[in-house]
């Protein structure tokens, strides 16, 4: 499998209150054509910043991004435009993702215009993409404006807008978290169908492991700007290797009355766990040892498909 997009040593620091704060500290990843990678973690773990860097919406402070064999880290102008047509984003909040003044037709024509698609092709492509997201018959939707649509319908339009340039990579940031439960499944299913039909690579960002499990084969867990564990989703959920992953898996709410209600294997909260030097998680880790204070663990392979950044390396569980 060749990687469609590959990130090497991505870093991003923001300046707030005169201090540099690392939102992302050394993240490497790769996604093959047709593959779906999930990135999970709590808010503030850097997952959204990572995704935004992959899409060149944010410039990395350090590191490289290779897309389809080309270094796109510093692309500008027409080259960047060409990349943009290839890599699209599905937004979290559908109520905010469409220009309130634009009709659905105009919202979908906008990317075609920008990417230089001839006008005579517009109508057909808009028609086709609305069929794909099941807003049928298309004619009934074209002249509506965002405020006339429900959340689920809006998210279909957002998905259509992402698909219409014909991308090879889709990044979806919490694509259903703002939607009602009864319509979430519809959007998730559409995402799966579109990927299968078009052979798209995808990066899904979510705090919800159950959702990631539904749409991604492979998952990466982030904590405070770093990747702490990576592997095939089901394996990772069944046998989490990193103590943080274990806590995360245990915390995911499940809709069954019979379930484990034991205390989570994690201490404190994100805000009082600012550890300097050593393992970033050690302040909240129930297994912290002396070495965790002295040495930051690096991401190492524990099986051919799994990597984890922990000194215990799978000896727990």
């Amino acid at each position: 499998m060749t990687a469609l997009i590959e990130a090497i040593g991505l870093e991003k620091t923001f300046r707030t209150r005169g201090r540099d704060v690392a939102a992302v500290a050394d993240v490497s990843l790769s996604v093959a054509r047709g593959e779906a990678l999930g990135i999970v973690g709590e808010s503030g773990c850097g997952k959204t910043t990572t995704a935004r860097m992959l899409l060149r919406l944010e410039d990395p402070s350090a590191g490289k991004i290779i897309f389809d064999g080309t270094d796109i880290t510093t692309l500008r102008g027409a080259d960047l435009l060409k990349f943009r047509a290839q890599a699209q984003l599905v937004f979290q909040n559908p109520f905010d993702a469409l220009n309130p003044r634009f009709s659905i037709r105009r919202a979908l024509a906008e990317p075609l215009n920008n990417f230089g698609v001839p006008i005579r092709e517009h109508a057909d492509r808009i028609d086709a993409v609305l069929h794909r997201v099941r807003l049928t018959p298309p004619a009934a939707w074209l002249d509506r404006r965002p405020h006339e649509l429900s959340g689920g319908q809006l998210q279909r339009v957002v998905l259509a807008r992402a698909l219409i340039p014909g991308p090879t990579l889709i990044v979806a940031d919490e694509p259903v978290s703002m939607l009602d439960v009864s319509v979430r499944a519809g959007i998730l299913n559409l995402l799966r169908e579109a990927r299968d039909a078009l052979g798209l690579a995808a990066v899904y960002i979510s705090h919800d492991l159950a959702l990631i499990r539904y749409v991604c084969e492979r998952t990466m867990v982030m904590y405070l700007g770093q990747v702490v564990e990576e592997g095939p989703t089901k394996e990772l959920i069944a046998h989490p290797a990193h103590p943080y992953t274990r806590a995360l898996v245990a915390a995911v709410p499940v809709p069954h009355v019979a379930q484990d209600r034991a205390q989570l294997p994690i201490r404190g909260s994100l805000s009082d766990a600012a550890a300097i030097g050593g393992c970033a998680f050690r302040g909240r880790c129930p297994h912290a040892m002396n070495i965790c204070t002295e040495l930051a663990p690096t991401l190492r392979a524990i099986t051919p498909t799994r990597r984890v950044a922990c000194h215990l390396e799978g000896t727990i569980s």
Partner: protein
């Protein structure tokens, strides 16, 4: 005898287009010493119901009918001053986003003392001691009483809100989406604090949420709301494992599970009806795969601890089997 018993409650909002019936004939019983989940999607009226219970509807909203019997009195009919006498001492509230619910320019200590002294009648020293004790109880360092709300993280603010809600040991706490804005780990921790204190203090709680998993984790009973009505209610195990109403059946298949087989999720097609001009009969009929002509008439509510409002309640077992098949839910 229920601690709280809501009968035929109607809450309307005045809008330019006419009155919107946000809560439309709700019946709900909350037994003492248990957690009742109130679950539903956005706009179903669950938060309005919570506000109506607390007596703080927005200016445009009013209780247009029905009763709210709490500890033997109809609190919907009470005068403002009589209402104030029971407020917070018997009936308190945990808000969704504690960020806006705490006064931004006052330290937590002042906000705790205000309740303990003005409403609880404690002396200053006793109130301070109690405030520390409450903070300790919810897992916050009492030192942080001297902080302002913005210095707290989301989870800590929510803990502080719980401490405030429990300050006067009320009989009933209404919690409106208390963990919605939180990350999974914090969400679980805050739910645990709520559950433990509820059990320890023996109080009753109404947990308003859109998340069935939260209900499954934390609640003893659940009421499912749809378009201003309660369509099904009963013990959590019964409602979630053996739903009687097609809407509840749909919900249980609508989102992914962390374990189990790979199955295709099933969306419920369509959108809830307008509450400005609600349809007659069953409000779920337009989205229901099991709809029949008689659904245009008001469905009967079954009796018993686990009950639902559906014409086809006798066929519930067969419908459940059908509901598990994705093809059932594909619109015709």
């Amino acid at each position: 005898m229920s601690l709280l018993s809501v009968r035929d409650l109607v809450v309307t909002y005045a809008t330019r287009a006419g009155p919107v019936r946000a809560v439309d004939g709700v019946n709900l019983d909350v037994p003492a010493g248990s957690i009742t989940g109130l679950v539903g999607e956005s706009g179903c009226g669950k938060s309005t119901l919570g506000r109506a219970l607390m007596g703080v509807l927005p200016d445009a909203g009013r209780i247009a009918g029905g009763q709210i019997m709490f500890e033997g009195t109809d609190i919907a009919a009470l005068s403002a001053s009589a209402r104030r006498a029971i407020a917070w001492r018997r009936l308190s509230f945990i808000p969704q986003t504690a960020m806006n619910a705490l006064d931004p320019v006052q330290r937590l200590r002042a906000q705790m003392l205000e309740v303990l002294i003005e409403r609880g009648g404690l002396g200053k020293a006793a109130a301070l001691a109690r405030a520390s004790e409450l903070f300790h109880l919810v897992g916050l360092d009492p030192v942080r009483l001297s902080d302002y709300p913005h210095q707290f993280s989301g989870g800590m603010r929510q803990r502080a809100s719980i401490a405030l809600a429990l300050a006067l040991e009320p009989a009933l706490v209404v919690a409106d989406e208390p963990v919605t804005a939180l990350d999974v780990i914090v969400q679980r921790q805050v739910l645990d604090v709520m559950r433990n204190l509820q059990a320890r203090l023996g109080l009753a709680m109404i947990l308003v949420t859109h998340d069935i998993a939260v209900v499954a984790y934390a609640c003893d009973r659940v009421a499912v709301m749809y378009a201003g009505r309660i369509v099904e209610s009963g013990p959590v195990a019964d409602v979630l494992e053996n739903p009687l109403h097609p809407y509840t059946m749909g919900l249980t298949h609508a989102f992914p599970d962390l374990y189990g087989d790979d199955m295709t999720l099933v969306p419920i097609d369509g959108t809830p009806p307008s509450l400005l001009h609600p349809p007659t009969g069953c409000r779920f009929a337009a989205r229901c795969p099991f709809v029949q002509p008689r659904c245009a008439e008001e469905p009967p509510v079954t009796n018993g601890d686990h009950h639902a409002a559906c014409w086809r309640i006798d066929e519930a077992a067969e419908l459940r089997a059908l509901a598990a098949i994705p093809a059932t839910w594909v619109p015709k």
